[in-house]
Each structure stands twice: as structure tokens, then as C-alpha cells.
């Protein structure tokens, strides 16, 4: 059992949780993920590690309440425990030593993962710009934190209710056009966003890393559910990723495969939300 030691709502649908898992905190690195299972009947759900504290022995996760599993997780409070919490999984983000200037791009809850990447690069002495995209003002998260670890922070909203109106790719294109020379772009967010970031950087030949979130069951290199096509070859996100070269990823296939259980997930969510009021037992 893994105890929740801190919980904070970042907005109405995004929650931060700090979980006691000293053995994971000891080894976790940016870009890796954990798998949680709330209770015996729950699914195994992968989440990228948002932060870790080696001394306190805690791992921070930030998740959006999108389905039955994240709803059940969100119903737990400080002092409660998660049944299973396993990691660190996947290959840590690899940044070449000759990279000097980076643009980190986050979309929605993906900013929760883009932020620690920006922080790590900033702390390593790199020049970091960040473009953080949100649907609207009320779901903006981690603004102060992101500002503190970046040379420039650009907030974009779809509806213009905060920051600048537009997509992250509009801002990226603009920054490239005015002559910013990035050695690396890191994009973390919805697949469609990562696809268009990669399409934006490709003509300029800017190396682009994306963090993929395919369907996964065990997450340890056994089930093969997380297979993605990268450079025309089959890769497994759990052991070969989750970071991949954005110019090589078949994003359309990934988006398509991620829809497989949409209907059943909807039913499970309905079940958890309405029939049981969020609790599994009564």
C-alpha cells in the first residue's frame, strides 16, 4: 500500500498527489512513469512522474479526472493508500549534452509533465522557453512554477481568455520565424498537439521529443498493448519509450488505437460516477 501524503486540486479536473514510495523516489528520473491500481477491481493506469523528492521518499503525480480509475483515485485523500504503485518505468528522457537551447511545449494536463522537464533543463543550465497551452483561463495550472524555471513563458488559450489566443503551434511557428534557434523541442500533451508540433519543427529540422501515452496493461514489457509505430518499426512505449522522436512517430495510428475502449470507458465512468457515487462499495 502506498500512502498519499499530499493532495491539491490544481483546477476543477486536475489533481496533484504526493505518494509515499521511497524506492521509486530514489531512482525516478524525468520522463519516466508509474502505474497505479486504486483497488483490487481497478485497472492498471500509467501516469508520467511529475516530480519526486528523494529525501522525503515521495513521488508526485498530476492527473486529470477523465475516467473511472482517475475518478476513484481522486476520491482518495491524504492519509489514504493506493493499493499498487509501481515504477519508475520506461526510459528517462535523454537530452544530448550539446543541446543549449530548448523549447518545452505542454498541452493541458500535459503541462504537469512538461513543467518538471523544463525545471530539470533549467537547473542543468540550459536556456529554456516554454509554451503552455490550455483550453481556457480557468484550467491554467502551475503558472508561477513554470515562470520560475523558464527564460520565457508563453501561455496560450484556445478561447483567448488568458495569455494569447491561439494554439501552441502558432506560438512555436512565430518563435521560429523571428529567429529563435532551438536545438530541441520537447512536446507533451494531447496526441494531436504533439503531432502538429512535430509537423511544425520538421521543416526546420529541429529535433523533437514527444512523450507517448498509448493503452497499456502491465507496463513492464509483457503485454504488447502499448505498441506504436516509430520510423516504420513496431516499438513498445513501456520499455522503448515513452519518449520518442516526434518526426518518426505514426501519430494517426496512435490516436486511432487510443480510441479502442472509448465506449467501455464511458460506461465504466458512468457506472462509477452515477451508480456508486464515486465509491466502489456503497
Amino acid at each position: 500500500m502506498y500512502k498519499i501524503v499530499n493532495k491539491r486540486a490544481l483546477n476543477s479536473t486536475v489533481t496533484l498527489m504526493e505518494v509515499e514510495a521511497p524506492h521509486i523516489a530514489k531512482k525516478a528520473k524525468a520522463g519516466q512513469f508509474i502505474i497505479f491500481r486504486v483497488d483490487e477491481q481497478g485497472e492498471r493506469v500509467p501516469l508520467t512522474i511529475a516530480d519526486y523528492d528523494r529525501e522525503k521518499g515521495t513521488v508526485t503525480i498530476i492527473f486529470q479526472i477523465v475516467g473511472a480509475s482517475t475518478k476513484l483515485l481522486n476520491d482518495l485523500n491524504v492519509g489514504d493508500s493506493i493499493l499498487d504503485f509501481v515504477g519508475p518505468l520506461g526510459v528517462p528522457t535523454h537530452v544530448d549534452p550539446d543541446v543549449k537551447r530548448v523549447c518545452v511545449i505542454g498541452g493541458g494536463v500535459g503541462n504537469a509533465i512538461a513543467y518538471p522537464q523544463a525545471k530539470a533543463l533549467h537547473n542543468a543550465g540550459l536556456q529554456v522557453d516554454m509554451i503552455a497551452g490550455f483550453r481556457s483561463k480557468d484550467i491554467v495550472i502551475l503558472e508561477e512554477e513554470m515562470k520560475a524555471v523558464t527564460d520565457h513563458l508563453y501561455i496560450m488559450t484556445d478561447d483567448g481568455s488568458y495569455g494569447e489566443k491561439g494554439l501552441v503551434t502558432n506560438k512555436l511557428q512565430e518563435l521560429i520565424d523571428v529567429g529563435n534557434q532551438y536545438d530541441l523541442v520537447i512536446a507533451i500533451g494531447p496526441v494531436i498537439m504533439m503531432k502538429f508540433v512535430a509537423a511544425t519543427t520538421k521543416p526546420h529540422n529541429i529535433k523533437t521529443l514527444v512523450s507517448l501515452n498509448p493503452i497499456m496493461v502491465d507496463g513492464t514489457g509483457m503485454c504488447g498493448g502499448c505498441r506504436v509505430k516509430v520510423g516504420g518499426k513496431m516499438k513498445f512505449a513501456c520499455v522503448d519509450g515513452p519518449d520518442f522522436d516526434g518526426h518518426e512517430v505514426d501519430f494517426d495510428e496512435l490516436m486511432h488505437r487510443n480510441t479502442f475502449y472509448k465506449e467501455q470507458e464511458g460506461q465504466a465512468r458512468e457506472h462509477v460516477c452515477h451508480l456508486t457515487g464515486g465509491k466502489r462499495h456503497g
Binding site: 477491481q41 504488447g224 465504466a268
Partner: protein, 462 residues
């Protein structure tokens, strides 16, 4: 005088058209009377050919003699001397190619039902026997085991019996490996696996689930923590796919994923959140035990049509004879000498059909089996909405890539000697991580052999 009946005492089973709709165990097990009657078919051969066919050297004629005499507790003690998981072996071993394949009674008639008797004894012990397991006196040495599957659990049990303090690290949330994520409930009930694991824990074996060796700790770090030897039984690894068009369509699974969703994640049970395809027509590609398990699960999940598509003939089919027999009884259709060439999707990218070609057998290939050759112009299409690939696996790269000095062959399988010793001192390995996908009992045999080698290695350092 031995019972000279030519046939085994029949195993009580759920009727095929009943059991193919539920996940309860197919074979219901012998009663005490049936077991004693079957045991009396054993001739008690002095040269014990059956034992030579057993990877863990179960004292077969000895335990059977005790069953025949009605001394079931004594029979259990006899089996437990060499086999840490008898309730499992009695159910899933390919006896026809092992102990029973060597049985003298099999020359004329059916061999003695050794597997059924082993199962009976293990089940009897579980229900009637003294469930308390003595914790052996410690010898002060620590061994770490990576992976709580058949190889790791067997190695752990044998080392614990010798007095070693054993910790088993398991990546999944439950111990058992393929016994819990792969082999279905109807062939191996999970409470039996849990009971066997519980016995190991009573012997003092510590099992740490949710623990990824290679990430949380490297093998070298385990040595730094005071373990004097490490056994790697990390299993078969990632599933292979055919590389044909359409494998990215919705409705294409690896057998590993399909079985994990159903067995480990209990997609068949009411109240569990695990999603799974609600299939009507399923093609399982491959002819091994895993393919049989996937096909029989698909039938139980409600599929109307389930096919095994295998590129060779019935003769080469590698699955255990009983599984093939049970699958056929349950209405699984065997499309032999057929090979998929393409999976076809509908407008939503879901599987709609599969194109196959017919095959014929040519000259024997490197595996000694006759090589299947495509019959030109034999393309045909099967209407299916789910395709399950069960054509093998390749080892997980995690441990070999994080352990300097640990070498693997070109397929990624760890290189190990006969006794399990790898290319790194103090590190032993066995099971599918070494051999590639094989059977539970071979993995157990490897775990057993490695336990002896580890004992010798640690003693030699003193």
C-alpha cells in the same frame, strides 16, 4: 496384483457446452476412490522410466504406491520432496511427453494418469492435510530472485528449504507470473496458485510485488545490499507480431495482452474495470498452449465463432494434447495449414476480416518440423472481428541492458549453462528468460537446478 485396465480412470469434467460459457475449472479432479483405482494401475517399475521424464524428478512410483494404499498425506510428503508446486504441475504439465510418455503401461493402452494423481494428492493436501509449513532453520545467507513465476518460485522454495533467506522481486501486483496472468482460471484456479505461494511465504520467502529490478535496483545493487547470489526468472517478455498489414487495427491483440486482461485483470468478472473487446468471431494465430488458452477464453467471453489458425498440420501442433482435445470439444474450429497474410479493417479501423493463404508441408526445416509452403492462388478471407497473435515472444531487454557482464544470445535470451550460471559471477537464470517461450515445468526444472548450483556456489565461497 496391479489393475490391468487399459484405460485411465476417466477424469470427471464439466460438459463441453456448459464449461465453454464459464470460467470454472474444466477438469473436476478424481475422488479418493478414483485415485486409488488409477494408482493401482502402476506397476512400480524398478527402473522408474517415468521419473527420467520429469524435469523435477518427482518420486513417481513411490507416491503412487502411497495413493494406492490410501496414504494421501504420505503421498504428498513424497511429492513435496522434489516439487514445490504439485497442484500446478498436476494441471499444466505436458505429461504425455514427460512422465506419462515414458510409462510402461502406455506401450499397450493408456499410461498411468500420473498428472491426475499428482493433482489429486496436492488438492487433497490443500483440503485435508496439515496446512502448517515448517520454516526451516536459517543458514545466514541471502539470495535474491527476480520474477515470481514458475522458475523463480521453484528456485525460492528449494533455497528456502536449504535455509537461505530468499527475497523474490515481482514486477506485477501479484505473484505467480504466467500462472496468474497467462494460464486461465478454468485450467488453473488462481486460489491454487495463491495457496502454493502462501506456502512459500510460510517457509520464510519474502515476496515483494510492484518491484521492478533493473529500474528500482540493478542486479549489482542487489549484491551491494548483501545478496550473495541472484536468480533471474524474468520470463518470456514482449509478444511477437507477424508484421502483416492491419496489425494496428482495433481488435488485434497479442495473446499476452488478451490473456492478461482476462486472467490477471479479471475482465471476465463482474465488478472489475478492465475493458476487453466483446468479440463475435475471433481468430487466434498460433498452435501452442497460449493459443489454446486465448481461444478458449474468447469462447467463454461470448464469441460465437473461434478459430485456431495454424500454418502447419495437427501433427506439428505444439500444444498439450489435452488442451487441443478440450478446445475441440468446446467448439473451437481448427483452421490448419492456413496462414494469415493481411488483416482487413472497416471504415472505423476495426477488424472486419482476415485474409489467409493455404499452406502445404515441404521438407523439414531447422526445427525438424516440415516447413510450411504457401499454395499459390489459395487466398481466402475469414470474417472475424478480433485477431489474437499467439506466435511467440522475445525477451524483455530491461535486465540485460542494466546489468554489465550479463550476456544474451542474438535472440536476446540470457546465456546460461546447464546449471543456470550466467556469464556474470553469482548470477543464475532460468525459464523463458533463457530458453525463450517454453513450459511451466521446464522453467520449474531450471529453477530447481539453479537452486542447487547457487547453494554450491555460496558454500564454495565460505
Amino acid at each position: 496384483m496391479a489393475n490391468m485396465a487399459l484405460k485411465k480412470v476417466p477424469m470427471p469434467e464439466q460438459a463441453p457446452d456448459v464449461r465453454n460459457k464459464n470460467f470454472a475449472e474444466v477438469a473436476e479432479g478424481y475422488t479418493a476412490e478414483m485415485a486409488m483405482e488409477e494408482a493401482s494401475r502402476c506397476l512400480g517399475c524398478k527402473h522408474k522410466p517415468c521419473v527420467s521424464g520429469c524435469p523435477v524428478n518427482v518420486h513417481i512410483p513411490e507416491f503412487i504406491a502411497k495413493v494406492a494404499a490410501g496414504d494421501f498425506a504420505g503421498a504428498y510428503q513424497e511429492i513435496a520432496l522434489t516439487n514445490a508446486l504439485p497442484a500446478v504441475c498436476g494441471r499444466v504439465c505436458p505429461q504425455e511427453t514427460q512422465c506419462e510418455g515414458k510409462c510402461v503401461r502406455g506401450i499397450k493402452g493408456e499410461p498411468v494418469g500420473i498428472g491426475r494423481l499428482e493433482r489429486f494428492v496436492a488438492d487433497w493436501q490443500m483440503h485435508n492435510g496439515d496446512s502448517k509449513v515448517e520454516k526451516p532453520a536459517g543458514n545466514g545467507h541471502k539470495v535474491a530472485i527476480v520474477g515470481a513465476g514458475p522458475a523463480g518460485l521453484t528456485c525460492a522454495g528449494d533455497l528456502a528449504k536449504m535455509g537461505y533467506q530468499v527475497t523474490v522481486y515481482e514486477a506485477l501486483h501479484a505473484a505467480g507470473g504466467v500462472l496468474i496472468y497467462g494460464i486461465p482460471e478454468f485450467r488453473l484456479p488462481k486460489d491454487i496458485v495463491a495457496a502454493e505461494v502462501g506456502k512459500l511465504e510460510q517457509m520464510g520467502v519474502e515476496i515483494k510485488t510492484d518491484w521492478i529490478i533493473g529500474r528500482v535496483e540493478s542486479i549489482d545493487e542487489l549484491f551491494e545490499q548483501g545478496y550473495e547470489a541472484v536468480f533471474i526468472g524474468s520470463g518470456a517478455g514482449l509478444p511477437s507480431f507477424m508484421g502483416i498489414p492491419g496489425e494496428d487495427l482495433l481488435g488485434v491483440y497479442s495473446a499476452n495482452e488478451y490473456l492478461t486482461r482476462i486472467n490477471l485483470m479479471k475482465a471476465y468478472k463482474e465488478g472489475y474495470d478492465t475493458p476487453i473487446a466483446r468479440s463475435k468471431a475471433v481468430a487466434v494465430i498460433g498452435g501452442g498452449n497460449v493459443a489454446m488458452d486465448a481461444a478458449r477464453c474468447a469462447k467463454r467471453m461470448g464469441a460465437e465463432q473461434v478459430y485456431i489458425v495454424y500454418r502447419r498440420s495437427m501433427e506439428e501442433l505444439p500444444a498439450r494434447a489435452e488442451e487441443v482435445h478440450h478446445a475441440m470439444e468446446e467448439g473451437i474450429v481448427f483452421k490448419l495449414l492456413n496462414n494469415p497474410t493481411r488483416i482487413i479493417g472497416d471504415e472505423n479501423g476495426r477488424v472486419q476480416a482476415m485474409e489467409c493463404v493455404e499452406m502445404e508441408l515441404g521438407e523439414p526445416d531447422a526445427s525438424g518440423r516440415r516447413r510450411p509452403i504457401v499454395k499459390e492462388g489459395s487466398e481466402f478471407t475469414m470474417e472475424v472481428d478480433t485477431v489474437i497473435m499467439s506466435i511467440g515472444t522475445s525477451p524483455n531487454p530491461l535486465i540485460r541492458s542494466t546489468t554489465p557482464g550479463l550476456e544474451a544470445n542474438k535472440h536476446g535470451c540470457l546465456i546460461a549453462q546447464e546449471n543456470g550460471a550466467t556469464t556474470k559471477e553469482g548470477v543464475y537464470a532460468g525459464g523463458d528468460a533463457v530458453t525463450g517461450a517454453a513450459t511451466v515445468i521446464l522453467a520449474m526444472g531450471a529453477g530447481k537446478t539453479a537452486a542447487e548450483a547457487i547453494d554450491e556456489y555460496i558454500k564454495s565461497k565460505e
